[in-house]
Symmetry: C2
Subunit: 591 residues, 2 copies
């Protein structure tokens, strides 16, 4: 069966020992109160909460799924009560703005909390995740009046939030959306249209649901420059700020999906629903995107979290399942077979999972810290450099976490053999739940295009140059550190490869407009593997200072990463260099 | 929505033009009557049958699944009637021994038929596939009396067959199984024990179910050398050969699985069930394995078939779905967006799928022909060489078809974006259905171990040497052919890489008993990519002789394979060379 314990030791190692996040927090007024003791205590409590409250609901939630009946959505048994406890204990306020009742925890701590949530119960985790997204957007762009009316209720968990972007014919291409917003005399708008794939669009865990809706004003320019953002509550707040009159928005149905079955994915029909604009007219996409870096990282973490629970379950199973004998002779004298963890291939599977999970955890923490600097730093140069790092690394984190997370859940299922295919064992659910993370919040192909296009070629590789300087600077500073010796050469070669391949991408993109789109996914993968190599090197240098099992295991997993996973970067570079000519040459009727 | 048409043009191109299978058939008495006209007509009819009879049942069959009630299993609506039609039209007899009512069609034709079956309805396809496996085993090893009594009913589709190997504690490691067989005075045996994961163990489509069961005799030696094989019918045949008295075997439950939900996966309880031995006592595994090469190829083809239907559906969707604009400017002047097939990344996805599907189809046909030679050739040298090729390539085909097939179904789902995650669109079912093919019939890790251990290191690379000689011989013979020019250098480099990596595997395996198990999966993948490169080269040489769209498309897809997929071989070789030391060094408690 699937098993999960919050990986607190590794989380603390990364947060405290590798990155010394508390030093960063202390340096910025907004986070100065977050000490190492506090963050350790919070991780402890979060671990207990997800293990005891959310993980036990995961398997049954998948089997039962959500129910739709005449516009009402019922979440799986136990979800509603668990959400009440979750909210009462303050978790819904975790990273909210303290001015409106949030706890103001830094993103570098939130990413570890979010990872635990997705490990324990990905369907459940999505309800607060979407609310977080909505509050971030409101906090950044809404009027003070809207913030006062909505943020406290959202932070308290009494209400929840959604993001309404997609329409049946308009997904990646939001410019062609049809939902309309007609202004009223009182400054409000009437919103009409149909939105699909709305996570938490309707459910039974809160008193009110606040939709952030993209729509077009009557005089809006065509395309993505004509999109505005609106707040549309399910119930209009009454004079006391409590849910009052029902608004013209309702769920038309829920989707029957491959996974995340406990998460209600709704078709939402808006019929002259009353809403208020957030930010400026026709600037809706920009408003949405200011919070996208936060949300994309969090959705990436869904892949990480599911990879972790799959790894832990597979490692436990591999220690217990007796089958065959070790290549070097009998290991389990008393039994009729050895535990399958003696077999090289099982170890290859487990170490692949673990190297990807821990590399990912390091990157999520690193990007979390850069997001904290980008938001809270009072040093302009530090803030700007952090913003650039976030812009570059966010699409990588989202796509690479989820692609490698999916691979990881598939490997974990494989460790269980036939039992992995049977629902009651729980391993196949992780595969199904993880699969969506590669698709939503911008498909991973779109993430790759954002990276290779907007973040690399359109600025002539400026962000990449800064990133390479970060990595080379770190290598120089740590040239004589134990832990780096065995892998230094491979790391330098990987960094060189990223540099030369970026130059090749820029060169070919100058000649052929199809180059970026045709190479983007391979380029993002290459970037991901090289970034993990750097972060593994950082972990190895820190681990080499310890004389304990944890440190020795870390060094072994790190060496495995360099020997058995990093070589993939070489193949990716070769594929990118091939260019777009062949794949663009086939007539579309011949596919 | 998912769409499927049997890919007859490509099948005929491979079978007739690339491999000229009809020349082989004509050269052997057992297959001499199979002409090109006949095989073309059979493929036509098979295509119509799967498109009209089986594909329409696929989606609903997944939603409904199988039902279990008090020992009875009901298949999804329509399956029973479809199976009746299927059997009446002779498809159950396709490759059966003509002496007992089979049609004696060669395996090289059967592989294409099997691919269509799995494209159209993988759950349905498994019922006749298991029966095929049982009849092959009976035909090769059972007494004439058993053959006479059972083969005609199995070929006619009145009865079906199963393979009962796995027990709850005994999967890969069959040596520790507990099912017992106690001899009776009349030469029969009483079988008792529990078998799990039995495909088609109980269902409602036939009058009788014939189980082939592995069990241990009372005096059997320990381990895999003490396993015997028994035939155990659900109903004991009466004096007329019709189903008579109920035997002591019954389904205890069915599994609730990730996919192939229309296929009944049963727990089978044997309680003093009457059975008859097949072959010699304690030689049951050997008997089972003589038909494994046939069955493993067929199960591999499940991956191919699902990859093909996923590709076709994704290509259709990509031509229809309008979203965004081409990098080179507007392509669809009248519409508000271009079809997504204009985007380089969508083409990369589609061409990856197609290059893997068509490479796989070529390999399945190639191995099918070698199986035909191995079974029917009257030339001893040809027969022996074919047996060696089959031994080497079968684990590759099973694992590589299904691993790449799974990748392909995942990519096809990705092309659909969010719609790919919604059940009604059908794309996620292919992913779930395909996933089992990597696990059952020997996990892909076990296939890799069979290749790298038994088929390579244990005979000092003899089979590989012969394979490399085949490939190099072909390259020499075709050195001046058009079609080979653009990829010749890459092909030769790939063959050299396989040779040097095999030498490295042999060298390290001599030093370290863990080398084989720790590198097997990467070695199999490397072998698969190099083998596809050779087969793509063969297809390209043949295609270059045509002056039509089909030929030009083939050449383009082939170039794509060499540019964008074959480079993976280099990374795999590097990973293999790293050796097993790192991954074996971690204490099992530290995972």
């Amino acid at each position: 069966m699937a098993t999960y314990k919050a990986p607190l030791e590794d989380m603390r190692f990364i947060l405290n020992d590798v990155f010394q996040a508390d030093r960063l927090w202390a340096s910025m007024p907004a986070t100065a109160e977050v000490t190492r003791d506090l963050s350790d205590a919070i991780l402890d409590e979060a671990g207990k909460m997800v293990e005891n409250l959310l993980f036990p609901l995961n398997r049954d939630g998948d089997e039962e799924g959500c129910h739709f009946d005449n516009g009402q959505v019922t979440t799986p048994k136990g979800f509603k009560e668990a959400f009440k406890t979750y909210a009462e204990n303050g978790w819904t306020a975790f990273s909210g703005n303290p001015e409106f009742g949030g706890q103001g925890m830094p993103k570098s701590l939130a990413v570890l909390f979010e990872e635990m949530m997705h490990s324990a119960n990905s369907s459940f985790a999505l309800y607060p995740a979407l609310t977080n997204g909505a509050t971030l957007c409101l906090d950044a762009h809404a009027s003070d009046e809207l913030k006062q009316a909505y943020l406290p209720k959202l932070y308290s968990g009494e209400w929840s939030g959604t993001m309404c972007l997609t329409e049946p014919h308009s997904g990646t291409d939001l410019g062609i959306m049809r939902t309309k917003a007609v202004p009223n005399d009182d400054g409000s708008f009437n919103i009409s249209g149909t939105k699909i794939f709305i996570t938490g669009g309707e459910h039974d865990m809160v008193d009110n649901i606040i939709h952030l809706v993209l729509a077009k004003l009557p005089d809006a320019p065509a395309g993505s420059k004509g999109i505005s953002l609106f707040l549309v509550p399910k119930f209009l707040p009454d004079a006391d700020g409590n849910p009052g009159e029902r608004n013209g928005v309702a769920a038309g149905s829920i989707e029957h999906k491959m996974g995340i079955k406990g998460s209600a994915t709704c078709v939402m029909n808006f019929d002259d629903a009353k809403g208020w604009i957030i930010g400026e007219p026709n600037q809706g996409l920009a408003a949405m995107f200011t919070m996208m870096n936060y949300e994309r990282l969090s959705i990436g973490i869904q892949g990480l979290g599911l990879g972790e629970v799959s790894y832990q379950s597979a490692a436990d199973y591999a220690r217990e399942r007796l089958q065959g004998r070790a290549a070097t002779g009998v290991q389990n004298e008393g039994g009729n077979a050895d535990p399958i963890i003696v077999h090289g291939d099982v170890r290859r599977m487990l170490l692949t999972m673990r190297a990807l999970n821990e590399g990912g955890r390091a990157l999520s923490t690193y990007v979390g810290m850069e997001l904290d600097k980008a938001k809270f730093s009072e040093n302009d140069a530090e803030q700007k450099a952090a913003q650039d790092r976030v812009a570059l690394l966010t699409p990588i984190a989202k796509a690479f976490f989820t692609d490698r997370g999916f691979d990881t859940t598939v490997i974990g299922q494989q460790v269980f053999g036939g039992h992995g295919y049977v629902r009651e064992w729980g391993m196949e659910q992780f595969v199904r739940d993880c699969r969506i993370s590669q698709i939503y919040e911008g498909t991973n192909g779109i993430q790759a295009l954002d990276l290779a296009g907007r973040k690399v070629t359109r600025n002539g590789g400026k962000y990449v140059d800064a990133f390479l300087a970060d990595v080379r600077g770190w290598i120089d500073d740590n040239a004589n550190e134990q832990g780096l010796d065995s892998i230094r050469e491979r790391l330098v070669a990987a960094v060189d490869l990223l540099e030369s391949t970026t130059a090749e991408l820029l060169r070919q993109a100058g000649d052929d407009p199809d180059m970026v789109n045709a190479s983007a996914v391979e380029y993002l993968d290459l970037f991901g593997y090289v970034t993990y190599a750097w972060l593994w090197a950082r972990m190895m240098v820190t681990a080499a200072q310890r004389d304990d099992d944890f440190g020795r295991a870390k060094l072994t997993v790190g060496r495995f990463y360099f020997e058995r996973l990093l070589p993939r970067a070489g193949a990716l570079a070769e594929q990118i260099k091939a260019g777009p000519a062949t794949l663009m040459s086939l007539d579309q009727d011949l596919f």
